[in-house]
């Protein structure tokens, strides 16, 4: 199901689009303060760009770029960043998720500390959403069987 596409046109166009798509997703995450968007939306776009890469260039190409362990790590890391920022505020003496406490280490006033705290939180959300969306997509489109396992079993169903 996630085999390489043999259509040269789609492959080439996807290849050209993917970097721009990823940069656009990062832009959406970073500029959630000023325009619509934020961590979740950007994460979804990142996940979609990886899904595009997966269906056009195949699993191996993607694995070379982002191994599965890294993906799992990113998925967990996102929530850990979010909860960790909250915990950091708690350790600095405020309540949980009180970003204004971050002004001590960031060296800016409270309002901007909150702004930066929002940025960090959005980054965390983006990581998690990217990894998880991609993972859900991968699981559903392959039925959860990794292609390498399939190959080991000698079956090549789905590698059309």
């Amino acid at each position: 199901m996630i085999g390489k596409s043999d259509d040269i046109i789609i492959k080439t166009i996807a290849r050209i689009f993917v970097p721009f798509l990823q940069l656009y997703a990062l832009y959406v995450i970073m500029h959630g303060h000023y325009s619509p968007g934020g961590g979740f939306q950007g994460g979804v776009i990142l996940g979609a760009s990886m899904a595009l890469l997966l269906i056009t260039h195949g699993y191996d190409e993607l694995k070379r770029r982002l191994p599965e362990g890294v993906l799992l790590l990113l998925g967990s890391l996102g929530v850990l960043i979010y909860a960790g920022i909250g915990l950091l505020c708690l350790i600095l003496g405020g309540n949980y998720l009180d970003y204004s406490q971050l002004s001590v280490i960031l060296g800016v006033d409270a309002a901007h500390a909150r702004s930066l705290g929002i940025l960090g939180v959005e980054l965390g959300v983006g990581f998690t959403v990217m990894a998880i969306m991609y993972s859900i997509f991968f699981d559903i489109s392959t039925g959860g069987i990794l292609p390498e396992d399939q190959r080991r079993e000698g079956r090549v169903e789905g590698e059309r």
Partner: protein, 126 residues
Amino acid sequence: MDFIIAKYNYWIYITLMMIGFYAMIAKTNLIKKIIGMNIFQTAIILFFVSISYKRGGATLPILTDADAHGGHVIDVAQYLNPLPHVLMLTAIVVSIATLGVALAIAIMMYRKYHTLEEDEILKAIK
């Protein structure tokens, strides 16, 4: 007449909700049920977004440059109510997460029984 004009948005959301609810209960196909679930959740989101709307030229819940740096008093009626939007972002996320899990369970079942009809699966289990 006034009643209909003032509230037609709510009527549409109720219609959508009935459609989704009917699909969730009556259809036997699992994917159809999931589609119904999606419609149902979207209807509720529509309801919330309708709450946040203000007639009379209110603009998006993002401060314009003049208001952000002008230092003058911000007119509340000029901006839409942001809170329901926030709640609905969360609800959309929940709906997509539910969709993922539901599809995973449906695929799991298809793998075992080779059908997506609920009654046929029940027959196969018995």
